[in-house]
């Protein structure tokens, strides 16, 4: 089983990366760009085949290590 995890900054948290990218895109002439937010995308391959167990494990991984829950949210997507 594979878990696809999106980690994004909580709203209101400063996103210097996103801002720098937006500025760079403007400098390259992409005027239609309004706003950019940068997050992480992590794929975890699991030996687990039980979806409920996998979900619980990945949830723990996010809470403990993958996401900084003080400032980040995460979303988990499981695919076979």
């Amino acid at each position: 089983m594979k878990a696809r995890i999106h980690i994004t900054l909580k709203s209101g948290v400063l996103d210097p990366q996103g801002r720098a990218i937006a500025n760079a895109l403007h400098a390259l002439g992409f005027d239609s760009v309004d706003d950019v937010r940068q997050g992480k995308y992590i794929e975890v391959d699991l030996k687990e085949s039980d979806k409920t167990k996998a979900k619980a494990a990945v949830d723990q991984m996010c809470g403990k290590l993958l996401a900084n829950t003080v400032i980040e949210n995460y979303a988990i997507d499981l695919v076979d």
Partner: protein, 229 residues
């Protein structure tokens, strides 16, 4: 010889590089702000270390897209010498002057220390002041110096004698313990095909005076000045 240093928002070793070039040239290089409309006519452009644009997105990626880098690239194709140090290496690699990419250090940590550096070729205007096989002590200070390229590119670099420096231990030994960032094949610096562009992670500009604890970086700037003049 005339030299210029290209400065981006977030560059931070431009003055260190300036000191090294001034020592070698006997006069100051021209400092070029990235948005200046034209690059002066010079024989050498140095792209310094630092965190251009905060190194947000990928190290060097945003700076690599700046107009001044396009100009640097065009001139390098006509033979002008270019040296990219640390973030400068990342920038010119992102801009396509050199092959490969600099990834995050294998242990994910920033590392600042003197490393052993083995001179792999003295056949370039940057390294002619050294003997092949000579071991230098030069500091590194980076978070993303883990050189990566596909095996075909690496073989080509080796076959064409384009690896300028490798990380090494005492007596030039190649050993994972002396590789500060996990670089493939211990690569610390490479040349382009024409041998007029050098990119390297270590900071020769921080090894030019006795207080630096090593003056092994001096010969790089001096040989460059001699070769280009």
């Amino acid at each position: 010889m005339k030299a210029a240093i290209v400065v981006f928002p977030g560059s931070n070793r431009e003055n260190d590089a300036k000191a090294a070039l001034t020592q070698a040239l006997g006069r100051e290089p021209i400092m070029v702000w990235h948005r200046d409309t034209s690059l002066p006519k010079v024989d050498l452009v140095l792209v310094p270390g630092g965190f251009s644009y905060g190194d947000y997105l990928r190290c060097g990626a945003i700076a690599a897209n700046s107009p001044v880098l396009r100009e640097v690239k065009a001139r390098s194709e006509q033979g002008m010498a270019v040296i990219g140090v640390c973030n400068g290496f990342q920038i010119i690699t992102e801009a396509g002057l050199l092959p490969g990419v600099l990834l995050r250090n294998a242990n994910l940590k920033f590392v600042c220390r003197n490393v052993g550096l083995r001179v792999e070729t003295s056949n370039s205007r940057f390294t002619s002041g050294y003997k092949k096989g000579q071991v230098l002590s030069i500091p590194v200070a980076h978070h993303d110096g883990n050189y990566f390229a596909d095996p075909k590119t690496l073989d080509e670099l080796e076959a064409e004698d384009r690896i300028a420096f490798r990380y090494c231990g005492p007596e030039g030994r190649l050993d994972a313990n002396y590789n500060p960032n996990g670089s493939t094949r211990h690569i610390a610096g490479i040349l382009n095909k024409k041998r007029n562009v050098l990119g390297l992670m270590p900071h020769p500009e921080n090894a030019i005076e006795p207080i630096h604890g090593s003056t092994d970086g001096k010969a790089l700037f001096h040989s460059l000045v001699e070769a280009v003049s």
